[in-house]
């Protein structure tokens, strides 16, 4: 659940963000404090795969947006995670 690529995609699914905004957002919704190196390692991989793309920057801070392919991948990944989460909850008797 702490895979940086999933966290970045999830953050961008809520709107375009630059690096610092992504880190703040991820810390808020997932409680995970990504390091700068880890964040930009994930951004590099995601952009190479075409799952995120840079949008017009107003200053040195570069915002990114999630692409259609990125949304599909995120949906698949979250679906798989959802299966695991619901199975785990069922077995714990929580659902």
């Amino acid at each position: 659940m702490t895979d940086p690529t999933i966290l970045v995609l999830s953050s961008l699914a809520g709107g375009d963000k630059h690096g610092y905004a992504m880190m703040e957002d991820i810390e808020r919704f997932a409680g995970v404090r990504l390091g700068p190196g880890t964040l930009y390692g994930a951004i590099t991989r995601l952009e190479e795969r075409g799952w995120i793309a840079p949008v017009k920057a107003e200053d040195r801070r570069q915002p990114y947006t999630i692409t259609g392919a990125g949304r599909e991948v995120l949906r698949e990944q979250l679906g798989d995670m959802g299966l695991i989460v619901s199975a785990g909850r069922r077995r714990l008797g929580d659902a």
Binding site: G19, M23, G37, I43, Q62
Partner: protein, 554 residues
Amino acid sequence: MRRVLQLLARLYPAEWRARYGAEYAALLEERDAVWRDVVDVAWAAVKLWATSWSFVRVVLPCVLAGGLVAVALLFAMPMRYSSQTVVTVMSTYEPPKLVDESGQTVVLAHERHEPQDRLFFNMTEASFDRDYLASVIHEKNLYPRERASMPPDDVIEKMRRAIRVIPVARSRSADEDLSSYAVQFDYADPHVAQQVDRALISRLMIFTLRSAIKRTATPSSAHEVFRVDEAPSFPLKPAGPNRIELGAIGLFGGLVCGVVVSALAGSRLGRVAAVGLVLLGTVGGVAARGQDVVHASGPLPSFEVATIKPDRGGPPPPPMPVSNEFRNFNVTARDLVRVAYGLPPSVSSTRVFGGPGWIDSNRYDVVGKIPDAAFASMQKLPARERGKQISLMLQALLADRFKLMVHFETREMAIYELVVAKGEAKLTLAKEVPTGLPLPPPGNPPRPEDMRQGLMVLRKAPGVMEMTAKGQTLDALAQQPFFSLGSPVVNKTGLTDKYDFVLDWSPDQAGADVLTDAASLFTALQEQLGLKLVQTKGQVEVVVIEHIELPSEN
């Protein structure tokens, strides 16, 4: 902190910096940095380099860096020169005699001298005691740098490790029983190595003669008791550090680092290579672990009667007419533990750890009678198995009288691996030995051609040794005391058959006073048997004393 992160960011690949550099710098400026970020930013740089380069491009610089470190170490490490003296001593040990199928009393050649070796090793340990070594260190001004930075006992231990005693030759006739040993001393200065070796031999001679006067009824002359065959040699070439070995360690270390970095950076080839290295290490460790130490696999057999007495320094009792006895005189408790667990004698490295101080200072005479039924059944066993049975009886005796408790550990130690050299091993499978073959009458000097099965080492000529083996496995060869070069030897040839072979070599070509055509042991093994000794580090099983008490009354 922010400045550190910005400096680290410059380590990222130029191509990456051209694309992301400005926005990354903006992020580092905006964010409140913590120390964990330093590691994060640095590790990301390593990963980016590793992923942008191929496996070979990551590993190759690491291997080269390892090689450079090895070269730097080679220049930083002092040279080691080894001076050697060959001495011959009269045996005070009467070997046990075994009854052959034909009813003759015989002694197998390769068993004959092991107790004599132990006596001699004990003698060297007693001669080169702490006080004596301390006086030599002071007198010759040895190890000045170490003395300034290390406790005196550690310096003495360092000197003790620089002394090696190796059995090199045996000869026996009806009138005399002689064994020869090479006493070597290693030091950074060849002149000092020779001087100290000479001093060690003088000390050893005095000790041996004193002991002989106490033990032997009438030695007709000192020359019969202790003889210097080859004077302390002046080492012309350094004995170490081994350039090839150090270079190989550096390159291999670099390879391991490169593979680890590549695997952590996500390279599939790197992961495969890392798994391969781990498997290699595990197999090597397991193979080395299994050697030597005698483990009990059931209830321990015991001696019928046994006595342990403090050694008074007097003459040993006369040999028994029928020697179904284990007899070991003037030995320390540590030495008894070593024998009980089947470990070879060596002054330079021990594999028995722990225990109070008295186990190295108190000396004992031990005699144990092997029960008749056990003795009879032992005659049907191979020599090595007979040795194991006696070791197990000694384990039972030590547990009973010394209340000895031990456990086994695996520790990393310097070892030699015996491997097949390039091509094939030049070994001949052993011929089948006819069981009823008559042997020469006891008392005659043993000749390799008379030996049915076993291993014999004789001095063929000055400075040349000849080893004759019949029906011997390479495991047995690797575990011969004369073969242990201060470190355990592990058979890694994968060959398990029994072989007949002859090996001629010169014990120390570099330092020998007599120049011969014979090759060094290392070269001889390769040229004559197609085998190679490779020095490395390995996991070696050792015995750790948990509890030991002064022996109870008989």
